[in-house]
């Protein structure tokens, strides 16, 4: 039975974790970030579930480099609220290239992502890169929504859910995107999905079928339409060797500066 290390200080959240995850494995609550690193390095935990701040109030981001050196195989799952006051910490915590993800408290259930992370069904995700690129240029009022969209759009969460999890209505998101002169919400969401697909295919060599299964898409052709329309690249382009970094920069520019795209 896997052991899930949990670094959260509030008792009610500990109870919530126990309630949701007791059937998945044993839960070991860690008393500090240092204790969590020791537990991971010593092979005593299979996954670390953590809030954005440790028991002393220090950002958990500071412990990630040491954790990734001493326990490179232990994935990290952030379990916290994503608000205007925490989105900067989230951005500092999610590291491109490491097996990390986030469950949005109190809305999202822990079990599905914990199960996937323990089974190692997915490689490191593109989401931390998208959070870096998009949140850094987003107005503060859009930061939580943009971060949640980057993290959750690939798993087919829709606008209503993403907006609700960021604490506002879909209409408010639409207005804020217009005010920021960003592309409409569906472009943002679909672009995140398209980049997730292309990331898995270019960085990890996944086939269309494998992406289709992992992301629950009905037809393989949907992948081609998605990536072509929102990222300007198809699976065929991937086979011919596209530069994912260039595609990413282009998509980010199209989302955050759609006017510039039209005039160029």
């Amino acid at each position: 039975m896997p052991v899930i290390g949990a670094l959260v200080s509030e008792g009610s959240i500990r109870d919530e974790i126990t309630r949701q995850l007791a059937r998945f494995g044993e839960i070991e609550f860690c008393s500090s970030a240092a204790a969590a690193v020791e537990a991971a390095a010593g092979g005593r935990i299979d996954l670390l579930l953590t809030a954005l701040r440790d028991d002393r109030g220090d950002p958990i981001a500071r412990a990630i480099p040491v954790l990734s050196v001493r326990a490179p195989r232990v994935p990290v799952l952030v379990y916290d609220q994503i608000t205007r006051s925490t989105v900067g910490l989230l951005r500092a915590t999610l590291i491109p290239g490491l097996r990390m993800d986030c469950v949005v408290r109190p809305f999202e259930p822990l079990a599905p992502i914990v199960r996937d992370m323990l089974a190692a069904t997915l490689p490191p995700l593109v989401a931390p890169i998208l959070v870096q690129r998009l949140v850094s240029v987003a107005p503060l009022s859009l930061g939580p929504f943009v971060a949640i969209a980057a993290l959750k759009a690939p798993s087919r969460r829709g606008l209503d859910q993403l907006a609700r999890w960021s604490g506002v209505t879909p209409r408010t998101i639409e207005r804020r995107l217009v005010r920021a002169r960003w592309a409409p919400e569906h472009v943002l969401i679909q672009s995140c999905r398209a980049l997730d697909v292309l990331w898995l295919m270019t960085e990890y060599g996944w086939s269309v079928k494998r992406v289709q299964r992992a992301r629950g898409l009905s037809f393989a052709s949907a992948i081609t339409r998605l990536t072509q329309r929102y990222a300007g690249a198809t699976p065929r382009d991937v086979r011919e060797g596209i530069d994912f970094r260039a595609v990413l920069s282009d998509v980010v520019r199209r989302v955050t500066e759609p006017g510039a795209d039209r005039s160029s």
């Binding site: 050196v69 900067g88 910490l89 290239g97």
Partner: protein
């Protein structure tokens, strides 16, 4: 724009990078140490001039160099951990 974040990595101002034709070294003036750097180390040290977060640092390096993010993240973490242990960098 987002406000300035926490968890930024700062260089010790008493450490200077000396780039030479054959190699590069960090001179730790306070402790009289010389630490040899490889190419990645030089790039990391230069990128730390802006006091990035670990996440932003990895993204910055990944966007410029043709290396897999997974490999890069672990290499950068390894380097930062050694530098932190040696007192060459600190968290802000």
């Amino acid at each position: 724009m987002m406000p300035r974040q926490e968890s930024r990595i700062a260089r010790d101002p008493r450490v200077v990078l000396l780039e030479r034709a054959r190699d590069s070294v960090m001179l730790d003036i306070a402790h009289g140490r010389r630490i040899r750097l490889n190419r990645l180390g030089v790039r990391i040290w230069e990128a730390l001039a802006t006091e990035p977060t670990f996440a932003a640092l990895v993204d910055h390096l990944w966007s410029r160099y043709d290396v897999r993010a997974e490999v890069l993240a672990h290499d950068v973490a390894d380097t930062l951990s050694q530098w932190a242990d040696a007192g060459l960098i600190s968290w802000r």
